[in-house]
């Protein structure tokens, strides 16, 4: 859009004005006067403004994109799912930054350049529409949208779901206001969620009363515990850790479930695989 010649623009504007003139046939006294005077202000400073805005936009986008590449704003990633989720977050932010900088640049520049402290005695140029700009805009937003649906959307979702077969099954039951963890392999019941590092675990949840939601912030995973049905999600922990070291290692109820919803949380511990095996057998 910026590289177009002013001469081209003029024809565009003329095209717009001719449609306007068709309407004005009914107001004959204005016809001759308006047509030439309408055209002029449209073209004023368009090139200058476009160049300045494009420059500010390019520079600010570049700076922010580079900055964001080196900044890690995320808390501990203790599971493969956390890496996937944060990666999606990162890509979406990379895609969103140019949109943010573009909008803010046009907004800020327009305010800075075109503000009038008192009532503007002249009207602005009668730019009713520019089909080319609208079409380009629609094209860019559509491409951004479809790209983000496919990547990170669908591709990362497939990654997030993990392998069909898991190494370990854990059943977690929610009840007002706690969680009960059960390991069917050794029929062990626990009040902490203990998981092995490096193995894929499938968590099965259900609820004894109302809807709860099992959230482990360090893993970026969440699944609701719904009475009358069993839901599942897969987790592959990649970091050892415990609630004492980092409060993100916890199962937190994320769906409002009544009086002590706030307190409905239990610690999570990720152990080395051999330690975990010992823990699992040890009743």
């Amino acid at each position: 859009m910026p590289s177009r010649q002013p001469a081209d623009k003029k024809t565009d504007d003329e095209a717009d004005n001719t449609t306007d003139n068709v309407e004005k046939q009914t107001l004959p006294q204005d016809k001759e006067k308006t047509s030439p005077s309408v055209k002029r202000p449209v073209l004023e400073n368009v090139k200058r403004d476009t160049v300045i805005i494009a420059t500010i936009w390019a520079v600010s986008t570049l700076v922010l994109e580079v900055l964001f590449t080196f900044v890690d704003p995320f808390p501990i990633k203790a599971a493969h799912q956390a890496e996937v989720s944060d990666n999606s977050f990162r890509i979406l932010t990379h895609m969103g930054l140019p949109v943010i900088t573009f909008t803010l640049t046009v907004l800020g520049y327009s305010i800075a350049r075109y503000r009038c402290p008192t009532f503007p005695l002249e009207d602005g140029p009668p730019l009713r529409q520019n089909t080319q700009v609208s079409t380009i805009w629609l094209g860019i937003t559509s491409v951004l949208c479809f790209v983000s649906v496919i990547y990170p959307g669908l591709t990362e979702l497939a990654e997030f779901r993990g392998d069909p077969v898991s190494d370990l099954r854990v059943d977690v039951t929610g009840l007002q206001f706690s969680w009960i963890v059960h390991y069917p392999d050794t029929d062990k019941t626990s009040t902490d969620l203990v998981l092995p590092k490096g193995r894929q675990v499938e968590l099965f949840t259900t609820s004894n009363d109302v809807v709860h939601s099992l959230w482990i912030p360090a893993f970026r995973t969440k699944i609701d515990a719904v009475p009358g049905r069993t839901n599942s999600m897969k987790i592959t922990p990649i970091e050892t850790g415990s609630y004492k070291e980092d409060p993100l290692f916890r199962v937190q109820c994320a769906e409002l479930c009544g009086l002590n919803h706030t307190l409905m949380k239990i610690p999570v511990r990720v152990l080395e695989p051999d330690e975990f095996d010992k823990w699992l057998i040890d009743n």
Partner: protein, 620 residues
């Protein structure tokens, strides 16, 4: 006093309804009251509602008509009009605005209580029980404010004026829509005496089937509010379709009217789903039907599907008029036409229909089938395309304009800023892999406050300042309004901006307490929240003092083109002494001699025929 009479009549209805239910129980050999609190509550409410509606004006305006006697309107003048059943859309609009701004202040005070509790780890001023109830009340009050203030308030006041109509299509229905709201407020507030309710405004089953009886009053109140919304939507659609003045073609509708039209379609078609889901809960509770009870073969997820089938489109009821006000004000204060007007209209209408097919993005973590994740993610992200067109229209309108930086313009520009972040952060909620982490966290709290408060409420403020001179005939104080704007803009962005970080770092929503490592940020949010709250004091003071002592204004202080500025401030009872003839587009600034409307002098030239008006066309 009509209101007092309505209340008395409501009390009689309450006694008849509740007493009747108890009497029928007693007659059928059951204990009259024991174990039937909720049943009696329901019938008392129904009785009270009928009594109230009859007493406040239903009898005088409608029932007398039906039984063949002449209706007896109140015909109040001056301030008394606002406290009586009035069929004047301008009175109703102001009734809506004042009532719901009052409720917004109440909801805001509840938010202050919540932020006070959350300013420190552990219990500060209230325990979990009170916190949950305060949070739930805050939620539903603010949802009602967001649904009704712009649509019912500004829409009622401005739409008939902007299309050159004398009034709404169904004035009595319009008054009924408003007067259904006081029982809603009373029921919500009195639920506190029945244990309140602690399920948030979403009222997820089965929690909402096992908690205190306050939940029943919540259901009845929201149901009534829904009736009011449906009637309001119906009325707007009928008004905009049939009451446009000659020459006001669809292509010449001011963009705000289009946005109200789009929002009304959603109101009319989708509110039923929320009402239905709540009625099912009520039947589960009172009649033991078990729609959502797995022990009886019900399904808790069913509630969420039906609930979100309305409640997602509902956010477009809130934001579409926000788009409309913003584009309207950007056009008038940039002295330029709305850029890509037709594209913007098409976007708003497509948002209406896309709103209907994205609801399950609220449910990615509920365990619904995995294969639904992809489609609902894709459909949800599609909404960014029409929303992007609205941004194109907004930026194209201010591009090269003459930006007159009055308070309405400041709020409209702030809308672009806030909604940009509200919209972009929405993508993270639409994307399944990020949403699974962010769902039900403070990220979501920040996101929807950015869209609804940063978007709609900023637009509401823009609209209130913009139409204030038309409503009152006086001008607001520009300095105070500027102070309010900057306080609100900075306070809002600091408060809710910081909440994004809280969500990513593991703070779940709807909690009275949190992990100690989040304390610093929470204290910061609370302090910013109090600052945001205080900015509203300036607003209230400005409205109060300016509506009484502000300088008198001319008919068109903004020199805007739309029809409401062609009549006196405030407008006379029937708006237009001479009916306007629309001959051009409302937003066509910058074309010398181009007119939006002409007024035939009384007894002057005959009105042109329908064909002559339309032959001018409006091809933009």
């Amino acid at each position: 006093m009509p209101v007092l009479f309505g209340l008395l009549s409501g009390l009689v209805g309450l006694a008849l309804g509740g007493g009747g239910a108890a009497a029928v129980r007693a007659l059928s050999g059951r204990p009259a009251f024991d174990g039937a609190t909720e049943l009696i509550l329901v019938f008392s409410y129904i009785g009270a509602l009928i009594g109230w509606v009859l007493g406040i004006g239903g009898w005088r305006y409608a029932v007398r008509d039906w039984i063949g006697r002449a209706p007896r309107p109140f015909n109040k003048t001056g301030t008394a009009r606002y406290f009586a059943f009035s069929t004047d859309h301008k009175v109703i609009g102001i009734q809506y605005i004042v009532t719901f701004i009052g409720l917004m202040i109440l909801g805001g005070l509840l938010a202050m209580l919540m932020r006070f509790e959350l300013s420190q780890v552990d219990e500060t001023i209230m325990g979990s029980d009170i916190y949950n109830r305060v949070m739930s009340l805050h939620g539903i009050i603010m949802v009602a404010v967001a649904v009704a203030t712009v649509l019912g308030g500004l829409g009622n006041f401005a739409v008939p004026l902007m299309i050159g109509a004398k009034d709404m299509a169904f004035p009595r229905l319009n008054a009924l829509s408003f007067w259904l709201n006081p029982p809603v407020a009373i029921a919500l507030l009195s639920s506190w005496f029945f244990g309140g309710w602690d399920t948030g405004w979403t009222a997820y089953a089965p929690l909402s089937e096992t908690n205190a009886s306050g939940q029943v009053l919540f259901i009845l109140a929201v149901f009534t509010f829904g009736v009011s919304s449906i009637l309001g939507g119906l009325n707007f659609i009928a008004t905009i379709t049939t009451m446009r003045s000659p020459g006001m073609t669809w292509g010449r509708l001011p963009i705000f009217v289009w946005s109200i039209f789009a929002a009304s379609i959603i109101s009319l078609l989708f509110t039923q789903f929320f009402a239905a889901s709540l009625v099912m809960i009520l039947l589960d509770r009172v009649a033991g039907m078990g729609f959502f009870n797995p022990d009886q073969g019900g399904d808790p997820l069913l509630y969420q599907h039906v609930f979100w089938f309305y409640s997602h489109p509902a956010v477009y009821v809130m934001i579409l008029p926000g788009f409309g006000i913003t584009l309207e004000i950007l056009s008038h204060f940039s002295r330029k036409p709305v850029f890509a007007y037709r594209w913007a209209v098409a976007s708003m209408l497509s948002i209406v229909f896309m709103g209907a097919i994205v609801w399950a993005h609220h449910m990615f973590t509920t365990g619904m089938a995995d294969y639904l994740h992809g489609p609902f993610m894709g459909l949800t992200e599609l909404v960014s395309i029409p929303t992007g067109i609205i941004f194109l229209a907004a930026l194209g309108t201010i591009w090269q304009g003459k930006l007159w930086m009055k308070t309405p313009m400041l709020f409209a520009l702030a809308f672009i800023f806030n909604f940009l972040f509200g919209g972009i952060t929405g993508i993270y909620n639409a994307d399944v892999t990020t949403d699974i982490h962010l769902q039900d966290s403070y990220w979501v709290v920040a996101h929807f406050h950015y869209t609804i408060v940063g978007g709609e409420i900023f637009a509401l403020m823009a609209g209130i300042y913009y139409w204030f001179p038309k409503m009152t005939g006086r001008m607001y104080d520009e300095l105070l309004a500027n102070l309010h704007f900057w306080g609100m803009f900075i306070g809002f962005n600091v408060t809710f901006g910081a909440m994004f970080w809280l969500g990513v770092n593991g703070m779940n929503r709807r909690v009275a307490d949190y992990e100690p490592h989040l304390e610093g940020n929470n204290l910061f949010v609370s302090a910013a929240g109090f600052y945001l709250g205080m900015s509203f004091l300036i607003f209230l003071y400005n409205m109060w003092i300016s509506s009484r002592h502000g300088p008198q204004v001319v008919d068109n202080p903004w020199r805007a083109r739309t029809l409401e500025w062609t009549v006196s401030s405030p407008p006379s009872e029937h708006n237009f002494p001479v009916p306007p003839l629309v001959v051009g587009h409302p937003h066509d600034y910058g074309i010398p001699g181009e007119k939006h409307a002409v007024f035939a002098a009384t007894g002057g030239a005959p009105m042109p025929s329908e064909q002559e008006i339309h032959s001018e066309g409006d091809r933009s």
